[in-house]
Amino acid sequence: MDKRLDLVKHGKQLWTRDLAVTIRGDLEKLLEQSQAGDAVIIDAKDVDVFDYSFANELFGKTILRLAKEHPERFLVVENLNVYTRENLANALSSLGLVMIEKKGGKIQLIGKVHPADQETFNAIVSAKDPVTANDLKDKLGINLNAMNERLSKLSGFALIRRNTGVSSAGREQYRYSVLR
């Protein structure tokens, strides 16, 4: 079950790394309580501004540790305004990181996104149902090894879901989807 962290309860203007350390404690608790496959949503609704130190500490540090400390948990940010989106994008880009953003009911990536990752992510978003590497390689016109590498990277960073399914031939295969 997805869990939520409402940032605005800490204020509309979120300044300093110290404040982010406190909030990151709350976020860690939510991640610990969550199960594999769950998402923790950071809701930035009504937050006017946060500084880079805040973004680096809360978002950057959590994402850097997510795969190791909370594998298969998804971290999503939503309801960013123009300013907080720009600051978060800058902060994540300077750290070489990317995360999932929910904007207007749609899922997208924010941060430093490699064009190949963006292309793969978009292809999965546009598919209504979970897709396999085989489905995607044909759609994107690349070979299966390259496709698997791209998908492995995205699922390793908890940007897409990977579930095990069975092919029509009865073989086990991975199916990929985005959070909805």
């Binding site: 203007q13 300093t16 110290d18 130190s53 680096n56 600051n87």
Partner: protein, 288 residues
Amino acid sequence: MGNNHIEKLDAVSFDTFIALADPFKNDVNVFDLSGVKFISPAALVQLAAVCYALKGKGRQLKIILDDHSVCSYLARAGFVSTLKSLVKFEPQHIEDSIYNHLRGSNPLLIEVTKIEKGTELPNLLNQIISVLRHRLKYRKYDAFDVATVISEICQNTFDHNKSTCGFLAMQVYGKGTKRFLEIGVADYGDGLTKTLQRNSKNKGINSDLAAIDYAIKPGTSEHDDPTRGTGLYHLLKIAYKYQGAVQIRSGEGKVRYRMDMRQGWKTPVVYIPGVHIALSLGHKKKTT
């Protein structure tokens, strides 16, 4: 120590002023502001940081003033109340108590304020945002940009130093489209060179000017932590965006950046502990 006829004491002339005394080399304990007619907020916080550093060395300090309006301004700007427990002022009776209750009442002035922890920042940043938006006609998100970098440099004063503190002051000058603000932030901590050298990756930094060069690059920090070391980088980025001017002083080095020319001028200066930053921003042009 005489002031060599400095009439305007700001972030630039402060180095001429302090070089005459060179108080961390010589046993000079008197700062003579006779003849000074104007003091900017950046110079105020620089002098405050110098006094705190010297007092920490057990020095008995005196500041001499002769201009009535400067005496009043130092009292109004919170300089006297911040320093009177460690500095003897001459004339001795600068009446500052009448100004203490005015602290925070003028939106165009942030009095010299000690910064010791992050909880002190939101109120200061709110005032800066308000001035930028309502007096300098910055749009909301532009004002947030500036507040964000002030937040970053203020955090540096207590994040990287122990047993010291930082100081912030701001003043808005001029009218209409000629209006501009200056913000000064200064501390008397270890300075950039020593701070950055705590990280083994930065051992090669061998001068204060080199430390400033390193410090403005993203990811340069005393901490081996990729989420740190972006404060001064963003300071210059934002100053460039709004065509401001920035001065960064640390130890024996100073770099003044004119962001309209995207250029920095390096100057060796006499040693002062800590990091001193001055940021000037003008009225927001409608075209940007």
